[in-house]
């Protein structure tokens, strides 16, 4: 079945998308959920300040494991943040027509997960108040940050990616804000007026928006690839044998896209259920994105085996010690094999079937499973790499995350969810103009008695 634009008029598309913004007030249950999420976020903030004043001793970190769940969650959130770039940039470049329904869903994921990720290096610092030492600012002692350190590269890569993706999201949001502005009342009217930058919908403005979107989607690609590669270099450029792996760059990048697409599936299914985008998010979208998902799953598996097999084949002692620790020692072996199941066995077995790809509930469950697996993967890499590397046979303590660490990690999960819920209430979550454009460009032709839909390109 080929992709076909929804059987709705442009007015109907507008009305359906704007139900989340202009629809009835949220129910009590939704408000209660928001209050609970806000409470979790506030608790996390409180725990962070307590940790800053008391010291990092409130975490479970100890001698060989100086990087714990904070860094694991940081890597996870950076991975999920790759959703936006993949969907908007890669699918835009390849000209996939079905992308219009999901571009903004993915970009907003990036909008909230990237700050969540970027907060962790600060939370994890011993002296977070001095984070500005990492910024190359002019100072009277003429000290620069160390540009040889992968952490410095991280700092630049993440800030570039964040600025780039926020601008990308904003540029494609302007036409919708301008279109919706006359129908708005109250605070939304003010907000839309300011943010739409006096959009009138002239041909010149359309040309500029489309040029900017095309330009951004090309420019952001190298940034996307570099961001997660650099995050992987934080590990790969160290002497720790479990981390010192040449395959980590592509492995982390593919893993990031994998968890990003999984996150898009989770969010778009929730939106489909809660906001009723039945005509706009269809099983064909699931099928198409499911194919991308399958390809990424296969690529992830390829690189995963590439990380371990060479060490296994040559029986390299340090790498094998790391592998044995992951795969056969309590308690990590349970997590390792669970990850193997949810990231490799299940997705590849299930996604190979079109029937599975097109069904909503199984795809939703699978997407959550993959992200649980990806989180476990990061946890295993961060925890076990330093835990098992003990060349001088010192007495070591096993790292277990403390309550403080778990509350702060939970706070970012709650914060991302809350941010997403608020964004849906404030702005259209599907790009109306892109959906309308797809609708207009679509033409039907009958070939051998069958209707074939195709899309005219050009202005």
């Amino acid at each position: 079945m080929s992709f076909k634009a929804p059987d709705l008029s442009i007015k109907q598309i507008y009305d359906e998308v704007m139900t989340t913004v202009l629809g009835p007030r949220p129910k009590m249950a939704t408000l209660l959920l928001m209050i609970i999420l806000a409470a979790i976020v506030l608790h996390g903030v409180f725990q962070f300040f307590r940790q800053s004043f008391v010291g990092l001793g409130v975490t479970g970190l100890t001698m060989p494991v100086y990087w714990g769940i904070y860094i694991a969650t940081f890597v996870f959130w950076i991975g999920v943040a790759h959703a936006g770039a993949l969907i908007s940039a890669i699918l835009r470049i390849t000209g996939a027509e079905w992308k219009s329904s999901i571009t903004r869903i993915a970009e907003v994921i990036t909008l909230f997960t990237l700050p969540a990720a970027a907060s962790f290096p600060f939370i994890h610092m011993g002296r977070p108040g001095l984070f500005y030492y990492l910024i190359p600012y002019p100072n009277n002692r003429l000290i620069w940050p160390n540009f040889k350190s992968p952490l410095m590269w991280d700092f630049f890569a993440i800030s570039t990616y964040f600025i780039g993706s926020v601008l990308f999201l904003y540029v494609t949001l302007i036409p919708d804000l301008g279109t919706a502005r006359p129908n708005m009342k109250g605070w939304r009217k003010t907000l839309y007026t300011i943010l739409s930058f006096g959009w009138r919908g002239t041909a010149e403005e359309w040309k500029r928006v489309k040029e900017a979107a095309a330009l951004f989607s090309v420019l952001i690609l190298p940034v996307v690839i570099s961001v997660h590669t650099i995050v992987s270099w934080d590990f790969a450029m160290q002497l720790v044998p479990g981390w010192h792996s040449e395959v980590f760059g592509p492995y982390f990048f593919v893993g990031a896209l994998y968890s990003g697409v999984a996150a898009v599936f989770t969010v778009m299914t929730l939106l489909k259920w809660r906001c009723g985008f039945k005509d706009l998010i269809t099983p064909i979208h699931y099928d198409m994105l499911g194919r991308v998902f399958l390809a990424l799953g296969l690529a992830w598996a390829y690189l995963f085996f590439n990380d371990f097999l060479p060490g296994y084949y040559s029986n390299e002692p340090d790498k094998m010690a790391y592998f044995r620790y992951l795969a056969f020692s309590h308690p990590y072996s349970v997590l390792f094999w669970l990850m193997f199941l949810t990231n490799f066995v299940l997705p590849i077995a299930c996604l190979s079937f079109k029937g599975f790809r097109m069904s909503t509930v199984p795809m939703f469950l699978l997407s959550i499973g993959v992200n649980v697996g990806m989180y476990i993967e990061r946890v295993l890499i961060v925890f076990c790499g330093t835990q098992v590397y003990n060349p001088l046979a010192r007495n070591v303590t096993v790292y277990v995350p403390s309550f403080t660490e778990i509350s702060i990690v939970a706070a970012t999960f709650a914060g991302v969810t809350l941010g997403y819920m608020l964004f849906i209430r404030a702005f259209p979550i599907l790009p109306i103009w892109e959906l309308a454009e797809t609708k207009i460009r679509q033409t039907v032709r009958e070939i051998a008695g069958k209707k074939v839909y195709y899309f005219k390109s050009g202005e």
């Binding site: 970190l61 001698m63 002296r127 303590t397």
Partner: protein, 240 residues
């Protein structure tokens, strides 16, 4: 030897004779008092958060009843190509002009990247604010700063003594004599298992002892070029 001949000035280093070490831990205590190393308490030590700039690793050899203990004093190796230095984003871990692997406490932001990348596990982190139980604060060394919470610290080769000795020598107008300058651990070692000196001077005690056929460097295959030479235990005495 990795000493580059073209470089002028001292290249401080140490030789640790494993055969002479009795595991008395006088060096550990001396280091603690000299460098204001805080006391973390029993509970924190059990959690693996002991703050020791030098510790003595004990290894058992043989089967009962023929058991011998071997002691290896382990401290910062002051690597020539230190893995900790390249990863620090703010230059808190940094190579000084005379080759010391310096740690600049007030520059440290506590990313703990250096500790991850140190294969010797000799860097220690201040998980809490430093504290000294009642009488201990009376013996704090005024030449050494106390480190606050969130800061990485490690052996400095008693840099305050090195700088003081250099200044004294300059005032005196004569060069430093070999053996005149000793870090706290070397000074307190009853069996002279630890020797400190200038590797750049071929006649110094460290240079002479380091030429021993027993000389090894720990984890030398990693290419860190450590500045501490260990003299491994002499197996011949076991045969006799």
């Amino acid at each position: 030897m990795s000493v580059k001949e073209k470089e002028k000035g001292p290249r401080w280093g140490m030789v640790a004779d494993v055969d002479r070490c009795t595991g008395c831990k006088a060096c550990v205590l001396a280091c603690r008092s000299e460098n204001n190393v805080p006391v973390v308490g029993e509970q924190e030590v059990n959690r693996g958060r002991i703050l020791d700039w030098i510790h003595v690793d004990r290894f058992w050899k043989g089967e009962y009843p023929d058991v011998t203990a071997e002691f290896i004093p382990m401290l910062c190796q002051h690597c020539e190509k230190a893995p900790c230095e390249s990863v620090c984003p703010v230059y808190a871990s940094h190579h000084s002009h005379d080759g010391l692997n310096a740690q600049i406490y007030n520059r440290c932001v506590g990313t703990r990247f250096c500790a991850n990348n140190c294969p010797y596990h000799v860097r220690v982190f201040n998980f809490f604010s430093p504290r000294w139980p009642q009488p201990l604060e009376q013996q704090l060394n005024p030449d050494v700063t106390a480190r606050d919470t969130g800061v990485m610290e490690k052996c400095t080769f008693c840099v305050q003594r090195i700088r003081r000795a250099e200044l004294d020598a300059r005032l005196r107008g004569k060069p430093l004599r070999d053996g005149e300058l000793r870090p706290a651990c070397v000074q307190s070692c009853p069996t002279s298992a630890l020797v400190f000196g200038d590797f750049h001077d071929p006649h110094s005690a460290v240079s002479k002892t380091a030429r021993s056929p027993r000389a090894v460097r720990v984890l030398e295959d990693l290419g860190t070029e450590p500045r501490i030479v260990y003299l491994k235990a002499d197996r011949r005495k076991e045969i006799i």
